[in-house]
């Protein structure tokens, strides 16, 4: 599904990734690990086209990722960032806005129908829908970002430390949800030791 070939990325005079190659098959669950600053988030940003590699190539479904073709990838991948600056204002409008984007509009009705169930699954009260994002706690926002990604009905997930603000039981619930679904292709940055026992994962250690 993804093929990364000899990527090098440097910020000022520090190499973040050097001659890095990797391949991800459909349905795989990849756990990205490594100390902070090693380039885990940069890897996601390269895959999403927010950074350009200094050299090397990335292929998505055998197509070279370019400044033009990255737009298609952004309509196929659901990304949950570790940064919780995801928007402002009323939570229901937030979900509604996501689903009103041209890329997602075809799922709008069906996804909005599932919203209550998703809120329940991740232990968020329905009443939160009337609150503003600014009023939510870090853990609540993190789950909102996860739900927002699931509403997109995509099956490739880039998850950047999505359980950092969650308690133990929620952590396992979230990770089970992603890592045990055979249809999902998951690339997950995580510092957690927890992995569902029956999950088949592969670790990508950056060093």
């Amino acid at each position: 599904m993804f093929r990364i070939e000899h990527i090098t990325k440097q910020f000022s005079d520090q190499f973040v990734l050097q001659d890095f190659s990797f391949e991800i098959q459909a349905g795989e669950k990849i756990i990205v690990s490594g100390r902070s600053g090693i380039g885990k988030t940069t890897l996601f940003r390269l895959l999403l086209g927010f950074e350009q590699p200094d050299s090397g190539k990335i292929y998505f479904e055998n197509q070279l990722l370019t400044e033009d073709s990255v737009w298609e990838l952004r309509r196929r991948v659901a990304y949950v960032s570790q940064d919780l600056n995801i928007g402002r204002g009323n939570l229901h409008s937030f979900f509604n806005d996501t689903l009103s984007l041209k890329a997602n509009i075809e799922y709008k009705n069906s996804s909005l129908n599932e919203l209550d169930d998703l809120m329940n699954s991740f232990e968020l009260a329905d009443t939160l829908l009337q609150k503003n994002l600014e009023e939510l706690s870090g853990g609540e926002k993190q789950r909102v970002a996860i739900i927002n990604a699931l509403l997109l009905k995509r099956n490739i997930f880039f998850l950047d430390e999505i359980t950092s603000a969650l308690d133990k039981s929620l952590k396992s619930k979230v990770l089970d949800y992603f890592l045990l679904n055979p249809d999902f292709t998951v690339l997950s940055i995580s510092h957690d030791n927890y992995l569902p026992a029956s999950a088949i994962t592969r670790t990508l250690k950056l060093d």
Partner: protein, 266 residues
């Protein structure tokens, strides 16, 4: 019309004495901006004297071409000021912002002169340059807020912008909220001043007209018209500026070019 009373040489000397108040303030509070104040005052005097003589000439000749050229010059200076004060690079922004300002301000001024004042000669110096100057001055202030904030907020909230792109938003969709907020902050001062107009302040247009001999009832009609014209030119010029500059300010993959800013870091 009688026109305003002329100010004698003695009046101007008295005016100079009034300048001692800010100067004393600066000295007393050790603000350290004496030099800037004096240079600005000097520049203002020299510029106004030159413009005064020039406008006498322009008004007397009242030639459509000269009037238009002078209005274009005013627009060009305004555009430089907008770009510099928005911390953006003149090289990247001059042409698109100039085009936006020409379209927005010429349209509003000509509309004003033709449909509101019903002038036969819509490029009349008195109207085009005076009314145009007021509209342009306000567009300038609004665009520094509107255009400047638009790009600054994208740079500051880049994560949010990327997040929207990652959800599948087109560049236009991802920028919509940023543009909305810039419009609001650009228009708020004009809307707020409209709400208190006449009570808190007698605006420049009215003051000028009353001193120039118009009756207050005529002056308020002009004031209402000019405030609406200012809002129209503000919305038009910011829309055009954002629309025309966006295509030069982003890479094809949707990320903002950092080299459009004068300061490398926010």
């Amino acid at each position: 019309m009688n026109g305003a009373q002329d100010l004698s040489f003695f009046s101007m000397v008295m005016c100079g004495i009034l300048l001692l108040v800010p100067l004393l303030g600066i000295w007393y509070f050790k603000l350290g901006i004496t030099k800037e104040l004096l240079i600005s005052t000097l520049r203002m005097i020299v510029q106004l004297v030159l413009v005064g003589f020039f406008l006498e000439f322009v008004f007397r000749l009242n030639n459509w071409l000269l009037n238009s050229v002078w209005f274009m010059t005013m627009i060009t200076v305004a555009v430089f000021s907008v770009i510099k004060n928005s911390d953006l690079k003149v090289r990247h922004f001059f042409c698109p912002v100039l085009l936006s300002f020409i379209l927005a301000n010429f349209f509003v001024v000509l509309y004003f002169n033709y449909f509101i004042v019903n002038l036969d000669f819509i490029l009349d110096a008195k109207y085009m340059i005076a009314i145009g100057g007021m509209i342009l001055g306000n567009s300038l202030r609004a665009n520094i807020v509107g255009l400047g904030d638009f790009y600054k907020s994208i740079r500051k909230d880049e994560q949010l912008y990327f997040y929207k792109l990652s959800l599948g938003a087109t560049r236009f969709e991802a920028l919509r909220d940023f543009a909305k907020r810039s419009f609001v902050s650009a228009m708020n001062p004009t809307i707020a001043s409209m709400a208190t107009m006449g009570i808190v302040s007698l605006p420049g247009m009215m003051t000028g007209q009353i001193l120039g001999g118009s009756v207050p009832l005529v002056a308020i009609k002009y004031q209402i018209a000019i405030m609406i014209a200012i809002l129209a030119s503000t919305v038009l010029s910011i829309s055009f500026s954002i629309l025309f500059t966006v295509r030069y300010s982003f890479y094809k993959n949707g990320t903002l070019k950092k080299e459009i800013f004068r300061a490398p870091n926010p």
